[in-house]
């Protein structure tokens, strides 16, 4: 039975000419796992919001949505609320109540269920999701992953038949995200709940998806089972669309003679595929080669991508010496003897789970929080010895949420206001403004309200605000959050352009793929101190979970290859060598 029948839907936001959705027709049957992918602004979110009537966006809409054969508009409200569940992107903003227990009960209370039913459903759900330990906690004590699980649980308590999710793992660390997606997979398999999910984290989702829809400018450009979509996209030669495919599949597709029906999706399949190809190509010869990869072969691609300034090697920009930090007297130490250094001219990536203290560390480094013990030195001089104005000018700090930076009505006013605080000559102000506007391509949005532009543009605007001061050290907190693969590439390009001379960047991120491709050195924050830092490729070689999918596939053969480009180059060299 079809859950949704969507016929020829076109939707236009008010005061816009270009429709956000254009002629979309789609049938979703019961028990399907539908993955929506595509760049930001391609209409995924708009589409997913149309599947639930309560959150239809304002605008002009044509076409029809049938749910179980009944037009969505005519569905009884009680049924609509309980059968179609929705989880949003921001874990914090969708929570209504103060404690976990209250939040779980919220939906059921709204629908007027008697207390006995609420208690029983809660009991079941809490043990299914393993939430017993934090049932009585207040919401703000939870980590991001826990919050998102809570949001899922409070929707599941209404016993939905369809689950809609809009980038639910965008703000979670890789391990928490995997856990979350596994719960979804389980629900889909065990309860036959129909899942429709829009995501950027595609590596994990392609194997689960029974159908993949690739959105492009408000239309569904490719749709079908995962392998078919991959083959179609690859065959079409569409460069932008290719970035949405799982890296394992892309790696296999780069192999000269490929078979479409056996495209690997998971690490396991990737390994099997590799073994098979190798077997076909004469295992005897490459056994010797694979055990000792020549460093010359994989050097060019890593070198090309890695962002690196041109500074005398090993000059130190920032030094952190056994820093201890706790927020309150009785709270645990988030930073516990944390020591490391950032060199001049490098992009250093710092990973770690949700709540490991990454953001806190950045705040300490930018002197927004004072450590209880230990010292931070910038350019060999302790932060406390710098003049406040000078220190602020030298350290640029970009917080996670760009909205924190917006206190004017247009982007132009924001930039002007920032410049006016910098004690610069008029000519210099003008020069810097122009530089930023061209670097970040802000020209078209200069007169827009910062709340009206897309997430990627907001991120760029905030970054431009920080960089206007021309800092030497840039501290970035999750800069790739919510960006699609294309935007990430753009961001890397921008950072690469900016990172010249002796400037340095320290970035904290969950984004393993981004760090593996672009960081000069990488490290991990665990248990309050920094482990590492090491050259990125050797860092990721040693990791088991915090590493790229490609590395997990290729680790046994070529341990030094961590990015997709590395492996693809290696492949090609290997193919040439064997033919």
């Amino acid at each position: 039975m079809a859950r949704y029948q969507i016929r020829n839907v076109t939707f236009t936001f008010p005061e816009q000419e270009e429709p956000a959705l254009h002629g979309i027709s789609l049938d979703i049957t019961e028990g399907e796992f539908v993955l929506l992918c595509g760049s930001t602004g391609s209409g995924k979110t708009t589409f997913i919001r149309h599947l639930k009537r309560e959150i239809w966006p304002e605008g002009k809409r044509t076409g029809s949505f049938l749910y179980d054969g009944c037009p969505l508009e005519e569905l009884p409200p009680q049924r609509a609320a309980s059968e179609i569940g929705m989880v949003f992107q921001d874990p914090e903003a969708q929570i209504v109540m103060g404690t976990v227990e209250q939040e779980l009960a919220f939906g059921l209370e709204n629908l007027g269920f008697p207390p006995a039913v609420i208690q029983r459903r809660m009991a079941e759900m809490v043990s299914f999701l393993g939430m017993e330990g934090w049932l009585r906690q207040s919401v703000h004590e939870l980590s991001g992953g826990q919050k998102q699980l809570l949001n899922l649980a409070s929707v599941l308590l209404l016993r939905p038949k369809v689950l809609l999710l809009d980038e639910p793992t965008a703000q979670l660390d890789p391990i928490a995200a995997k856990e979350f997606l596994q719960v979804l997979h389980r629900l889909n398999e065990e309860m036959s709940i129909t899942v429709v999910i829009a995501e950027h984290r595609l590596e994990e989702l392609f194997p689960y998806a029974s159908r993949v829809c690739l959105f492009h400018r408000g239309t569904v450009k490719y749709a079908g089972p995962a392998r078919q979509v991959i083959a179609d996209v690859w065959a079409s030669g569409d460069k932008a669309a290719r970035t949405f495919l799982p890296a394992v599949s892309r790696m296999a597709l780069a192999w000269p003679d490929r078979q479409a029906e056996a495209i690997p999706l998971t690490v396991k399949e990737g390994k099997m595929w590799m073994a098979r190809v190798e077997g076909e190509r004469g295992a005897g010869r490459d056994a010797g080669e694979s055990s000792q990869p020549s460093p010359v072969d994989d050097a060019p691609s890593s070198g090309k991508l890695r962002i690196r300034g041109r500074s005398s090697a090993d000059a130190i920009m920032l030094k952190c010496r056994s820093v201890f930090f706790q927020y309150e007297k009785d709270s645990p130490f988030l930073l516990h003897g944390c020591s490391f250094e950032v060199r001049k001219g490098e992009l250093m990536a710092l990973m770690g789970g949700n709540g490991a203290g990454k953001s806190t560390l950045l705040r300490v480094l930018s002197s927004l929080l004072k450590p209880q013990r230990g010292a931070v030195e910038l350019d060999g001089k302790p932060l406390s010895k710098w003049k406040e104005k000078e220190r602020i000018a030298r350290i640029g700090y970009l917080a996670q949420n760009p909205l924190l930076y917006f206190n004017r009505d247009t982007v132009r006013e924001l930039l002007d206001e920032r410049l006016s605080r910098l004690d610069l000559s008029e000519a210099e102000q003008k020069r810097r403004l122009e530089e930023m506007v061209t670097l970040f391509e802000l020209e078209p949005i200069l007169n827009h309200h910062p709340y009206d532009i897309s997430g990627g543009q907001q991120q760029k605007t905030a970054l431009a605000l920080v960089l206007l001061a021309d800092p030497e050290l840039l501290l970035l907190d999750e800069p790739t959050k919510g960006l699609d693969p294309y935007q990430k590439e753009k961001l890397a390009e921008l950072l690469g352009k900016w990172l010249q001379g002796s400037r340095s960047i320290l970035m904290v991120s969950h984004d393993v793929e981004f760090a593996a491709r672009y960081a000069t050195r990488s490290a991990m924050l665990f248990n309050g101190s920094v482990i590492g830092p090491e050259e990125t490729s050797s860092f990721f070689q040693q990791n088991y979970f915090y590493t790229t999918v490609v590395q997990r596939v290729a680790a046994e053969r070529w341990p030094s290859l961590v990015t997709e480009e590395d492996v693809i180059n290696r492949w090609q060299a290997f193919a040439k060598g064997s033919t």
Partner: protein, 301 residues
Amino acid sequence: MEKKNKWPGGFYSLHPAISFIYFVVVFGAAVMLKHPLYLLTVLAVAIAIAVLQDGGRGLVRPLPFYLLMALIIFISNPLLTSRGRTILFYFRDLPVTLEAIAYGAIFAVSLLAVLIGFIGYNSIITPNRFLYLFARLAPRTVLVITVAMRFVPLLKRRIMEIIRVQKSQGYFLYKKKKWLQAKEAMETMHTLVSWSLEEALQTGMSMRSRGYGLGKRSSAVVYRMERRDWQMLVWLAVTGLLTLIGAALGYGRYSVYPKLMLPDLSYLTVLHYACFAGFLLAPIVMDIREVMRWRAIRSGM
């Protein structure tokens, strides 16, 4: 957060409606009574409840402040009024009477009883229980209060975050120019409001998508009236009613003015006091019995 009680069968475990009624009577008595013996009983009971609930931890910190307030009232009353017949001495031509001093003492005890009573009240009628009690009267209002209660710490954290970002952008550097600081603080508020509105839009969507506003809300939390609750209710009702009837007939009343005298100790007055004490002491007896029981169980283990 709902607190965990050390003694699962004590006063805290009663139906919140009963505890609430009890506290209403205690506060009423503390404010209205003027009889020193009755008042001292109320004070003693208030202290006992506070101590039994959390071992007196909640009492220790505010106590010096409470005592100071009581002391000020105790001293200032005789200085402000000169009512009463027994003049003890003159303070700057002002007669200081024994009655005024006694009244000040009674007033101070009454104040202390209310203040300390609230410590016990707060640990027994937690905000959640209070909301539960009134959820049926005004369900919407209660929900709004619950949501608002989450917002207070949330907005505080958001303000801190915005201020940090502003500091990193070179705000709040003018140490001497207060008006410039005030201007920048306004911008903090501006950012806070627009950010919070943006988040509130999402919260609103999440509420609607979970069926908010579709009909009458129910409540997940239930407190059932158990046998203990009924027993307690009957006891409180009987002793309470007898006390009220007695009070209406004039027992337990006392006035220091015009002349300080010993309260009467007639047979019926003692009986009335016994009823009153029976009412007040019920939860304490409950708690102490509970403590003893658990001590016995634990030492037997």
